[in-house]
């Protein structure tokens, strides 16, 4: 859920008056601002957080680890926006009565970015990695946010509308749209295969966990492939793998599906890039 927006995605500011530029929000801050709004709205209206200290611990750990590792391995102080989003995602999505899982999950999330690097790119979405690891390794202490949010319609509509607008501005709405369409299609299929009511298969996507998943995790620019078609194919595959996992009754199927498909797609893209570079090199040499 690292949401630092890379330069090519930012709309050009050339020709925009200075006063307007000052008032408009840098794209880098869009995701942090949006997720902070979700957090505050959710907590003030429904009390979604275990506690403020736990969320702050997750955020602080995330930023601290990012600063230290960035300084050591990249030789510079990284911008904290990405770590902030990872930390706040951990603070929302991890549910545990203990404090240590929040710090540990953040630390694992950020460290994974520096451990799993191929050709200078990290291949796992950090918070997806951290949360998946915690759900498997600390199952007795940690659960994911699956039901701990108001199940009413209006907050869901607000988040969907706001999230869609922001994702649209970031040119990544197609990822969310393909995923949602695929999920609904697969829900029909699962319902037909298992005999469960269709609405029970649709139910998860109406919950808060999915709202964070579809707006933040699967759209993360740093851990999605670059081509638009590739992004659509990958997110469809995430939904497909999720469906298979759901047929095996895996509760946190979306996290694990992204955990499996995301890095695989990244590795394929990196391999294709390097192959292309290798093929181009002799031509250039000639």
């Amino acid at each position: 859920m690292s949401q630092t927006i890379s330069a090519p995605l930012a709309p050009s500011t050339a020709g925009i008056p200075q006063w307007k530029r000052r008032l408009s929000l840098d794209n880098r801050y869009l995701a942090p601002a949006f997720i902070t709004c979700i957090l505050l709205a959710g907590h003030l209206s429904f009390g979604i957080l275990e506690s403020y200290p736990k969320t702050l611990l997750a955020i602080a750990t995330s930023i601290l680890v990012e600063m230290v590792l960035g300084r050591i391995f990249l030789g510079k102080w990284p911008h904290p926006a990405s770590a902030y989003v990872s930390g706040i995602s951990v603070g929302i999505l991890v549910r545990s009565p203990a404090y240590w899982p929040y710090a540990l999950c953040s630390a694992i999330s950020i460290t994974s970015k520096y451990v799993f690097r191929v050709k200078g790119r990290h291949i796992w979405n950090p918070s997806n990695f951290g949360i998946s690891a915690m759900l498997v390794l600390a199952a007795g202490t940690v659960a994911g946010l699956s039901i701990q949010w108001g199940n009413y319609l209006w907050p869901m509509l607000v988040i969907w509308a706001l999230g869609s607008a922001i994702i649209w501005r970031l040119h990544r709405f197609h990822i969310t749209a393909i995923y949602v369409a695929s999920f609904l299609g697969f829900a029909f299929l699962r319902s037909w295969m298992t005999g469960s009511p269709w609405l029970s298969e649709v139910a998860p996507i109406t919950g808060p966990m999915y709202q964070l998943f579809i707006f933040f995790m699967i759209t993360d620019p740093k851990t999605t492939v670059r081509s638009k078609t590739g992004q659509c194919v990958v997110v469809f595959l995430v939904a497909l793998v999720e469906m298979v996992l759901r047929l095996y009754q895996v509760v946190y199927a979306p996290f694990y599906a992204l955990f499996l498909v995301g890095p695989t797609a990244m590795l394929i893209e990196i391999w294709l890039d390097s192959r292309r570079t290798n093929l181009a090199a002799p031509v250039a040499a000639r």
Binding site: F46, G47, E50, S51, L69, I72, F73, R95, S96, P97, A98, W100, P101, L104, A107, I108, T111, S112, Y114, V115, A133, M134, L135, V136, L137, A138, A139, G140, T141, V142, A143, S146, I147, Q148, W149, G150, N151, Y152, L153, M156, T194, G195, S196, P197, L199, S200, E201, V202, A203, P204, T206, G207, P208, M209, Q249, V250, V251
Partner: protein
């Protein structure tokens, strides 16, 4: 280059260390919080000072609870919607000085049992002959709990039967039989409740009755007109049953006053308990709600004020299923234990132990959840729990029963449950949208918790080591000195399972004292004869512990009204201070240990 490699190697090692951390934390906490040694009476006595022996059959009790079978529209999820109803309450209905046991059954046509204590280690069911067995007839709903209180102050405990259906009040005719007085009392025709307690909220010497609705009272679960009966949210539901406060007008009449005294809630109540938390002389009311936050009502003697959020107990929504008070730190203040759901990797709500914050008193009372710090947080799908000094060492221990639905051991309903529970209200609220159960378990076959209090803020689970080894779907727990031996025995009611009697054996070196209180009422005021709300503060060996006579606590349970204090070895008891519900104070100087004190409120 070499430096970079070393840095990367350190990074990888650091990362592996992070991934391994949960494993080490689990090992450390398991060692600290649980005694997994095999049950052996000698070892249990030597290490923990007591052991439990399940003696129901030997005591002549062969009761097996039956769940209700509701409207066939609910068939696909029947195990879930019909998952409550087993309850146990303790009463000395015939005033012979020996506690008796009342248990509810929940299938239509099934019988409730009243086990009379025969004084010789056995019990005999007398519910039929006394008229309180056949109370689950078709068309009247079924029993989900029972609480006893002497509402007319004639000296004999009367019975309020909690039901999904027509609630019933039975007058105790001097221990020789019971007369149904529901209509005369002015009770409503139908309530779908799981909790009720007796309390004298206005201090007039007459017991009032609080009833907490679960399903809406408009619903007849056997004749549904809609399947939209489920909670609208898993954690924020407010479409449950209404609450009732029946003010006792005397002469067997009650008036429903909940709204006018400030109790307005449609949360899904599962447990309630009352105690004077602020030293005002008035019982405050704690309500644990399923699908939402708990509620705490401060009582000023006339009105109730909901302060759950202010005091800290009513912010984080969970699945409250228990309310029990205990002075766990021997400081003269009550903590509150609320049970919730914990299932590895799926839902970790954790149980709550609300401990008063240091320095917070009176109307500024604040609680903090110290369940994790004290080691009483994780108990599976927890239900009934009660505080009591099981080994007579002078500190209150905690007995917790648990387990939701035990069917096929190999197939779990959790996936489907979590799928729907996370959905929008239009989906979760309709039973038709819930996938069929198909014989699967949901947090079934769970091991119980017997948490021993070390007095310094740590509890250790010794359930397996002391013989509490059952894995039934536990619901209701009551603590009682069944045979007047100075030890607390444990009675557990299980859903679709047997009633269990755990007979307690405690090392004789640990001493005890018990107080059986009876209030006195006259034209000039006084206390209800059940003495519900009376407090005893015992001072011994430089410490003190407070306990209060309760009109129902835990989950669908009522402990023996006799107060039991463990004292440890060679105790020097300074005094016992009794504060009667009337406000009268009475001091007993130098009471002796190992004795049951029967005390009547002085006029």
């Amino acid at each position: 280059m070499t430096g970079n490699r070393i840095a990367r190697a350190i990074l990888v090692l650091f990362f592996i260390g992070l991934l391994a951390t949960p494993f080490f934390i689990k090992r450390m906490s398991a060692r600290r919080e649980t005694d997994r040694s095999k049950f052996d009476t000698k070892t249990a006595l030597a290490r923990h000072g007591f052991y439990l022996e399940e003696v129901s059959h030997a005591a002549g009790i062969n009761f097996v609870h039956q769940s209700p079978k509701l409207d066939s529209k609910l068939d696909p999820i029947m195990p879930e919607v019909a998952s409550m109803g087993a309850s146990v309450s303790i009463v000395d209905f015939d005033r012979d000085g020996w506690p008796d046991i009342y248990v509810t059954n929940s299938a239509e046509g099934s019988k409730n049992h009243l086990y009379r204590n025969m004084h010789d280690g056995t019990f005999k069911d007398v519910a039929g002959e006394l008229g309180i067995a056949d109370v689950n007839q078709s068309g009247t709903g079924v029993s989900t709990g029972a609480v006893w209180g002497d509402y007319d102050n004639d000296g004999y405990e009367d019975l309020f039967l909690i039901k999904w259906g027509r609630p019933e009040l039975f007058h105790n005719d001097q221990g020789h039989g019971f007369t149904r007085v529901t209509e005369q009392a002015g009770l409503p025709p139908w309530i779908n409740a799981n909790t009720a307690i007796w309390l004298d909220y206005d201090g007039d010497g007459l017991l009032d009755l609080f009833v907490g609705g679960y399903y809406s009272e408009d619903i007849d679960l056997w004749h549904l007109t809609t399947t939209r009966i489920m909670p609208e949210s898993f954690e924020y539901a407010k479409n449950g049953g209404r609450k009732y406060l029946f003010h006792n007008l005397g002469k067997g009449k009650f008036e429903e006053v909940s709204s006018s005294v400030g109790i307005n809630s449609r949360r899904w109540a599962l447990a309630a308990a009352a105690a004077d938390l602020r030293g005002t002389g008035h019982p405050d009311l704690f309500v644990s709600n399923d699908y939402g936050v708990s509620e705490l009502y401060f009582n000023d003697g006339k009105r109730f004020h909901e302060v759950g959020e202010l005091t800290g107990v009513g912010f984080a929504p969970k699945s409250g299923m228990n309310a029990a008070f205990g002075d766990i730190l021997n400081q003269g203040r009550y903590s509150v234990y609320v049970s919730n759901i914990s299932e590895d990797g799926i839902l970790i709500q954790g149980n709550n132990l609300w401990v008063p914050k240091e320095g917070s008193t009176g109307d500024a009372l604040q609680y903090q959840n110290l369940a994790r710090d004290f080691g009483v947080e994780l108990g599976g799908w927890s239900f009934g729990a009660q505080f009591g000094d099981l080994n007579n060492d002078g500190t209150l221990d905690l007995y917790l029963t648990n387990g939701y639905i035990s069917l096929d051991r190999k197939r779990s309903y959790w996936y489907d449950f979590s799928k729907v529970a996370g959905g929008n209200s239009t989906i979760i609220g309709d039973a038709r949208n819930w996938p069929a159960f198909e014989g699967r378990s949901l947090s079934g076959y769970q091991t119980k918790r017997v948490w021993l209090n070390d007095g310094a803020g740590k509890f250790v689970d010794v359930a397996q080591a002391v013989g509490a080894a059952d894995t039934y779907d536990g619901r209701s727990v009551a603590l009682v000195d069944l045979w007047n031996r100075g030890v607390l025995d444990v009675v557990v009611a299980n859903q679709n399972g047997p009633l269990l009697l755990y007979k307690n054996t405690v090392v004789p070196e640990n001493e005890w004292i018990e107080f059986e209180l009876e209030g006195t009422i006259s034209d000039h005021g006084g206390s209800n004869r059940s003495a519900i709300g009376a407090q005893v503060t015992l001072f011994w060996n430089g410490q003190k512990q407070v306990q209060e006579v309760s009109g129902g606590s835990g989950f669908a349970a009522e402990n023996d009204r006799r107060l039991h204090f463990g004292l440890g070895r060679k105790p020097h008891i300074e005094r016992a201070l009794i504060r009667w519900p009337s406000g009268k104070l009475q001091t007993l100087d130098g009471p002796v240990a190992n004795k049951i004190y029967k005390i009547k409120e002085p006029l």
